[in-house]
Amino acid sequence: MNLQNSQLPKEISEFEEDSKWFYENADLLRKNKLVGKFVAIKNKEVIASDTELNKVVEEVESKGKNPSYIVIEYVYPDGTVILF
């Protein structure tokens, strides 16, 4: 599943677009009962979700995609504040 270097900029820009979509649509994901789950996003769509990250990674792979280039984020409950 290695990508050619020439393909990388496309993968990176798609990753960026999907991550923007994730942050902008966090409320929608919460409404769709995805709170407390990891979600994989590709082309602005949820392609896998589960409470366990490993299962999401496996599902992404089973769809023939390389998880290294797929946005996988955790949907925090509304009002959660994380301090670093």
Binding site: Y23, A26, S68
Partner: protein
Amino acid sequence: MRIPVRVEFFAGGLRPIVTLCIKSESPKIFGVVNAIIDTGSPTTILGAGDVQRMRISQVQMGKLIGAEKEVNLGGAQIKTRVLPEAELKINEKKIKISSVQVPVKLIKGTPPPTVLGIDFLLEGKFKFFFYPLKKEAYLEFD
């Protein structure tokens, strides 16, 4: 020159976030990650979720150096070891960075995201501009 940084609402507040490519030869690591720029963190820590996403084998994880160190980050408790040298690529700018903390075990909590610390700003010779009111942020270098 300037590298644009996104300002996104994430986990209770506005955060400066960049998408970057991370590459290391030993251990072999390669992938795309989102990272929060955190001037409160002295070091760069790879997200525990990103490590799982990049499917780094146990053999490769064994090539990390140093003893396991306990780190508390974003409500999670993790154990990390050190990636001796990594290359980060943001836009077309490459930054060599040493001593990236890599989670090897999640003890408690949700896997925290990748955090770019002060070491990243130093290695890249970056100035960091962050204006949350206008959702404007960028990295600047000569």
